[in-house]
């Protein structure tokens, strides 16, 4: 084909194109760092905590159970961050949604409304989506950085959760969800578990996997995914070629709020109650998981699979420290170190990927 004498501008095969193998393509994926990191961290604890049974079904199940809520949040957070935005209010939405459910189902003689569980779960969903929508509207109309806007709503909704719960029920903790009608089904859907080789794996893991699969499908296969990467890469350029930038942003703030609602429901059902402070600090953990998973803080690059591995690393470090008997106070030191190392590593990988 290309043995002709003419020096054509268009050839069947470009002589300047080197064949790049599967491996090289794999290396340019954003989640690579987190996958390698997860393996390294696992091996690390497998060696130093071998005697403490780190390598066991029981230990694996407690890592995954702890990672699931964080993983659910971080899948949504990763998508939002790829679009170039932050949501610091999700921890507060977890608290707000959980308390909404509890206040609605608590019996009237204890200051509640005496609802059955499923309508309460639905109303909490509507509230959560409304908060997400409010975050999005605030960000796109004020054009302020979402970091500031959602830092504001972090306090607003945590404050509202505490103030309203106290005003209505005079308490900051509500329990007894297992006595409410509808709990049995909810328990199956949100808090059941199966036992494999001595480890009890909770159904939250399944929700986590489902969310990661859907997020990945959206990001890589759907039109919306193309828009999300475009909005994060350069919002002006994206707008100029016809991407509905504001719509994408608002939808993603509603997605993070949705993930917060899901975590709130899972935890309320699992612990048969809620606390006004539930979810505190989880917004940062979710951002850390996303960043460790290769998502760029500046937007335009990242993956939901990476964020899942980020959450896994996070939970592994926590479990490793717990079972080796190291003082729990050291946990934050480890998390901070892992975060910084991950960012340095990811930057390096990304530069390689972009330069090829």
């Amino acid at each position: 084909m290309t043995t002709g004498t003419a020096p054509p501008p268009v050839t069947e095969h470009d002589e300047r194109l080197r064949k790049v193998g599967r491996l090289s393509r794999l290396l340019s994926r954003p989640e690579l760092g987190a996958v390698v990191g997860a393996v390294l961290v696992y091996l690390f604890f497998a060696v130093i905590a071998f005697d403490n049974n780190f390598v066991s079904w029981g230990s694996l199940s407690s890592i995954l159970n702890a990672a699931a809520p964080l993983g659910i949040l971080s899948a949504a957070v990763a998508m939002l961050m790829i679009a170039g935005e932050f949501d610091l209010s999700i921890g507060s939405i977890v608290g707000f949604a959980g308390m909404t459910i509890m206040v609605l189902v608590t019996s009237p003689d204890q200051g509640g409304f005496g609802w059955t569980l499923w309508p309460a779960i639905l109303v909490a969903l509507v509230f959560a989506l409304a908060i997400g929508w409010f975050n999005g509207i605030l960000v796109v109309t004020t054009k302020l950085p979402s970091f500031i806007v959602t830092l504001g709503t972090l306090f607003i909704f945590r404050g509202l959760t505490i103030a309203l719960t106290r005003t209505i029920t005079n308490r900051t903790q509500l329990g007894g969800l297992d006595e409410v009608s509808g709990y049995d089904l909810a328990q199956k859907v949100f808090a059941s578990s199966i036992t494999i080789g001595g480890g009890r794996f909770s159904i939250a893991i399944l929700w986590w996997v489902l969310l990661v699969v859907v997020s990945t499908w959206v990001l890589l296969k759907m039109t919306w995914g193309n828009w999300i990467f475009g909005v994060g890469g350069d919002p002006n350029a994206a707008r100029n070629v016809g991407v509905p930038v504001d719509k994408v942003r608002i939808a993603l703030f509603m997605t993070t709020a949705f993930s917060a609602w899901l975590v709130a429901v899972i935890q309320a059902v699992q612990f048969t109650g809620a606390d006004t402070l539930r979810g505190t600090g989880q917004e940062f953990q979710a951002i850390i998981a996303a960043v460790v998973g290769g998502t760029l803080l500046t937007g335009g690059y990242g993956s939901a699979v990476g964020a899942a591995f980020g959450a896994f690393i996070f939970a592994m470090v926590k479990q490793g420290i717990r079972i080796t008997g190291v003082d729990g106070d050291w946990f934050q030191v480890f998390v901070g170190a892992v975060l910084v190392i991950a960012v340095i590593f990811n930057n390096y990988i990304r530069q390689k990927a972009v330069k090829k």
């Binding site: 501008p9 475009g230 350029a237 070629v241 016809g242 991407v243």
Partner: protein, 297 residues
């Protein structure tokens, strides 16, 4: 010129003004483009050309004046509206996302889909193939449609933006300095595209600082100066020398007269050279396509 009765304008604006705070970017600007014609928009840096085309493509909403498309008055609220009417634009800053691949950039905002319901998805295969084909037609062989746009050369990036607009510009094609970063050959291809678009009945609005690019393809020249229309000429009314003079700026004219005369002479020569070069280029390309189709058989 050759037509006796001119067709009605495809896109027309009347007394458009645009302000950015205290800055008057455009004041009472009127212009139009007819189907099958090329309107060249000329003017100094900062004259307001890019602002004007951003009004035309729906990025900016005008503060005053009317916008008519195919005779109907309308307000574009976003570039998406404009694209739906078949008005496609190559922006001066190209509007590309550096971290995204060439094929994703090409279809960003106008993604082809396949499948139904929740399985409706971005047709990546079609997108990759079309991207490669459209760029191939411009003489740009992107090695790998998966390559990030940020890693392309400046001219390659510009070619992607142009190929994209040509692909989507069903009725009006707006080009803001599309030849700025291009090599002689690619600039020739772009000018040829403009002529082809014109022959297909598309209205083209073409911004350039190069009179030798504007003159051979333009039917109609609008000169902007400090946000206002300074002149609006058909090709008959405006010899190349005069166009060059006007593009060089009226006020300093006398002082620069001699220089300009010389420039105009050289300009004539250059225009002829450019035209001849263009023809050669076209012939070469035609030969090549023939060869390729023969090769294929």
């Amino acid at each position: 010129m050759t037509t006796t009765t001119a067709p009605a304008p495809l896109l027309e604006i009347d007394n458009i003004s645009k302000y950015f705070g205290s800055v008057i970017a455009l004041k009472d600007v009127s212009m139009f483009v007819r189907p099958g014609e090329v309107t060249c928009l000329l003017g100094d840096n900062g004259a307001g050309k890019s602002t004007l085309i951003k009004v035309l493509s729906g990025v900016h909403q005008p503060d005053e004046g009317t916008y008519r498309f195919e005779g109907a008055e309308m307000n574009l609220s976003s570039p998406r509206d404009a694209l739906e009417y078949g008005i496609a634009t190559v922006y001066q800053d190209l509007a590309m996302i550096p971290l995204m691949s060439v094929w994703r950039n090409f279809f960003l905002g106008s993604e082809p889909t396949k499948g139904f319901g929740p399985f409706k998805r971005f047709d990546a295969e079609y997108a990759k193939r079309t991207t490669k084909d459209e760029l191939g037609k411009m003489g740009i062989d992107i090695r790998d449609p998966d390559q990030a746009v940020g890693t392309l050369s400046g001219g390659e990036r510009q070619s992607v933006a142009i190929a994209r607009a040509v692909h989507f510009g069903a009725k009006v094609l707006i080009l803001d300095e599309p030849t700025a970063a291009l090599g002689v050959k690619q600039a020739g291809v772009v000018l040829r595209y403009v002529v082809q678009a014109k022959q297909r009945g598309i209205g083209v609005i073409f911004i350039t600082h190069n009179p030798h690019h504007a003159y051979p393809v333009g039917d109609h020249f609008v000169i902007l100066k400090r946000g206002q229309v300074y002149g609006d000429y058909t090709k008959d009314e405006l010899p190349l020398e005069q166009l060059i003079q006007m593009m060089a700026g009226g006020a300093d004219l006398e002082a620069l007269q001699h220089e300009l005369e010389r420039a105009a002479e050289e300009g004539d020569q250059a225009a002829e050279n450019a035209a001849a070069g263009l023809e050669e280029e076209v012939e070469k390309l035609d030969e090549l396509t023939e060869q390729r189709s023969e090769d294929g058989e």
